[in-house]
Structures are given as structure tokens and as C-alpha cells.
Symmetry: C2
Subunit: 277 residues, 2 copies
């Protein structure tokens, strides 16, 4: 298993942000024509749309809706700001339900100058506040640990170990973890923590891309699989050895690729997926 690439496209999912030159309407036609099996929809792609109709259109094209991306960003410097974050996460859960997405990805947030411990407490409070909504809607919430280079203002959860700790503390079957190779590949505890997450039935999602050398931008210089140094196949094997059977989601923020011809890019995503994932 560790040495074999995916045998087909049946578990390939693409995030709308990856091909953000396309509207959601264009993306669904292009993905369907290219045989992309799954989609994770970013909320901005749904702006001013009838969300349930978008969901129907995706299903009618046999594209599986994997997740809605993204909620989170709970850390706040006032009670009213934390409440606003909670309200926004409730809307995300509603949107996921309308779309027919089974889960919402959480980028948990951080606040420069506020301690990471305090941010983690607010993250736990925020997730706990919205879990009744998730329960009522039957929507999973997936904590996505972000790379430590985003610990200043994007996520106080930077390892699977920390995500496991938050899940332990809240302890709810609808709360789990999205493993993204970009954020986590460097962590020597990754395999062990994936195993723990699996034992607790928390392996909800798997995101792939690659780490460029040099990386010229902290946010938008990710690579297509095979362009960088991440042992993607090895990490995928850890997921699968631990009985993860979900999609391999291609989530690439790249100024370089966003400038490319999107039809050509989608073909390159498919071939990189089959060769380097």
C-alpha cells in the first residue's frame, strides 16, 4: 500500500479554491467532464447562490459533496466577537445542511498577542457552543490543524496531537480531524497521532498538495503533488492503514497555478494525483 499510487480517480476530490478561476457552476461542469469524483465547496463559491439548488446540481452530475470549507476562527478579543464567530459557524452548519455536505472544516483561528492557550480555550468554547446545531443537522465538524507558521493569526491548533486533545476534551462523535499533509508532514508524531485519531473514530478528512522549495509566499505558494518534498504517499498509507476510506482532497493555494489555464491545470491535477499521491 505505501508504494502504490491511487488506482483510479474514484477517491479524488478537488476543493473549489484550487480552481478558483471557475465559478461553482463552471467548476461542476468541468469536474464532471473530467471524472472528478468529489468536491469540497468553499463558502465564497456559494455567494448569492441558492445553496440547495447548487447541491442538487452537484448530485445530478454524480459529484459527491465531501465538505463545506470553512468555519472556525473562534479566538476573539471580546465576548461579542466570540459570539459573532459562533453565529457565523452556525450559518456554516446551516449552509452545509442546505448544500447536502456531510461536514464542515474548521480552521480554528488565533489572535496575535493573545496566548495560544487562551485561544484554545475559546476554540473549545466555540465548538461546544455550535455542536448542538451540528447534531440537529447531522453535520460533522473537522478540526484542521494548521502549520505552526500560521500560529499567529490563523490557528492555535498546529498538530494532530493538539487536535486530539481538543477532541478528547469535548468528546463528541460529530467532532473529528482533517489531516492536511501541507500542515503536518514535518511532525515526527504524525503517524502515531493519526493512529490515535483513528482509534477514536476521528479521521474525518485528508487533504493533499505539496511543499515547494523555496516557498515564496506563506499562504499562496503550495505545490501540486510531486512538485515538492512531502511524502504524500507515505502519509496516505498511514491514513489507509488506519481504515480511512474517504476522499483524497486536493487543496492548493497557489498564485502560480491560479494564473495557469484552468482546463490544463485540472488535467495536471489528475495526472499528478495518479502519479504522486
Amino acid at each position: 500500500m505505501p508504494d502504490s499510487p491511487p488506482s483510479d480517480l474514484s477517491r479524488l476530490c478537488v476543493h473549489t479554491v484550487t480552481t478558483k478561476k471557475w465559478s461553482i457552476e463552471e467548476a461542476m461542469d468541468k469536474y464532471a467532464a473530467a471524472g472528478i469524483a468529489g468536491i469540497t465547496v468553499w463558502r465564497d463559491a456559494l455567494d448569492q447562490r441558492n445553496i440547495s439548488i447548487i447541491g442538487e446540481q452537484l448530485r445530478s452530475r454524480n459529484i459527491k459533496i465531501v465538505s463545506l470549507c470553512r468555519g472556525g476562527f473562534f479566538p476573539a478579543d471580546s465576548d461579542s466577537a466570540l459570539q459573532a464567530a459562533i453565529d457565523d459557524n452556525r450559518r456554516a452548519i446551516e449552509e452545509a445542511a442546505e448544500l447536502g455536505a456531510p461536514s464542515v472544516v474548521l480552521v480554528c483561528g488565533a489572535l496575535p498577542g493573545q496566548s495560544l492557550e487562551r485561544s484554545r480555550q475559546q476554540i473549545i468554547a466555540g465548538i461546544s457552543a455550535v455542536l448542538p446545531d451540528a447534531e440537529a443537522a447531522g453535520i460533522q465538524l473537522s478540526i484542521e490543524p494548521l502549520h505552526p507558521m500560521y500560529a499567529d493569526d490563523r490557528s492555535a491548533i498546529n498538530t494532530v496531537s493538539q487536535a486530539n486533545a481538543v477532541c478528547d476534551q469535548i468528546d463528541h462523535p460529530l467532532l473529528g480531524i482533517a489531516v492536511d499533509v501541507y500542515h503536518l508532514w514535518w511532525d515526527e508524531q504524525l503517524e502515531a497521532q493519526i493512529r490515535i485519531a483513528a482509534q477514536k473514530k476521528r479521521l474525518f478528512a485528508f487533504h493533499i498538495c505539496d511543499w515547494m522549495t523555496p516557498t515564496t509566499d506563506l499562504l499562496n505558494d503550495r505545490g501540486l503533488m510531486g512538485e515538492g518534498c512531502i511524502p504524500i504517499r507515505q502519509i496516505r498509507s498511514w491514513m489507509e492503514e488506519n481504515h480511512f476510506t474517504g476522499f483524497n482532497e486536493v487543496e492548493i493555494f497557489s498564485n502560480r497555478w491560479w494564473q495557469a489555464d484552468p482546463d490544463d491545470y485540472l488535467q495536471q491535477i489528475k495526472s499528478a494525483y495518479l502519479k504522486h499521491s
Copy 2:
């Protein structure tokens, strides 16, 4: 202790790279005039100099030589490249001895596409190979763990935990750790791992600067203390509670600050040090 700034400049050290507009000759006069107590000398500052004379000139100005920066970069894709790295580290140890620096900082290295485990094995082999030279010269070697965003090509050692593991494996009194807040501030294990390092008499050095939000460049957008989100004083208190009595070394790579007037910058370093460290 956690809430008090440094009471004076007696433990302030500046890295030559911080004020790299100045030659080493200019820097030593400027530092002496400004009352900077210590200097860590980067090897490029010694290019085409008589190193022992530079050492004498620093001592005659009452500037304490804290470290020579830097050796390391052991990971290699061939035996001859690893041997070249070992030879270069031997030269660094010789240079430190000529200069009168008691230690060499090691940025251990990494190689894109080579597993971090393999790189760590080469790091251990490389350090082991040069320790007899360090012993003969009486020079300490300080492993500096780098931020995980440098795990691709600069360091396979990304936490104090990993540095402690390497030190455990080699187990030599001249091998220790340089704690740099920029690389390590996000790690929830930092305090515990500093304590372990202290118990094993490995707390060799302490580097300070700050983390900017946003950070616009992975290498050269560090902040002056107080400009960013790192809890510098808290981390310093962990060092001091564990009996670290060495210098607080200001090591700032910043395209922005490098463009500033260096005399003004040095004054700002002093005042930021007294206010925000």
C-alpha cells in the same frame, strides 16, 4: 521574573547578521560605543580577516564573544557531500578557536525529498564526527532547532524535543541546544523541553526577535522584539527559571530593518530589548 524586563544591557548580545550593513570592524566600534555587552559573529563577517586579530580587537573593546554562527548542514545525497559538510564544520570549530568564541551554533540541515529520519541520521553522524575536534579545541556545539517551515531544506531538527533526542543519542557534555524564540514559540512542549535540556546541562544559548503578522517572507521578515506576537519574556523566564545565565542574543533577519539607518536601528534594538524582552 516572568513580568520583569531585563534590568540593564549586561546580557544583551547582537548577531553580526542583525546589523549586516556594518563590517565586523564597524560593528565592534558601534557595539562598544552603544554598550552592547556581547557579540555572536557570523562566519561571513570574518571573510578575508585575520580571525585571531578580530578576536583580540573584540576583547580589547570589552565585547564578549558569545558564539560563532554557524556550522551544520550535514544532510547530503552522497558520502562525499557529507564528508565536505564534516570538513566545513571542522573549519568552523577552528575558526571559533581562533576567534576565541566558546561555541559554534549548528543549523543542522535538511534535503528536499530525503526523509527527515535519514537527515537526522546524517546529522547525528556528522556531529559525532566533529566532536573530537570540538573536544580538542574546547568548543561547545549548540544545535539550533529551526521552525517547521524550514524542514524542507534547512533543518530536520524542528523542536527542542528533537534536539534533546539527538543530544541523548550522542551524549556529550560539549553538545547542547540554542533556543530561538522565533523557531519555537508555538510549541506547547517548549517549557517542558527547556526543563529537560536544563537538567541535562544543555541550555547553551538563547536567541530573541519577534514574529510579524503578516510575515511577508519566510526568511527575512523577522521583527524587532515587541513588533510581533512572541511571548519573549515568558520564554526568557523559562530559560532563567532553569538557571540559564547566558546572553540574550538578538538575531534578526529583516529586509526592512536591514534597509534602515544602522545607528538608529541599534538604538531601537537597545530600547526594544529593555522594553519587550
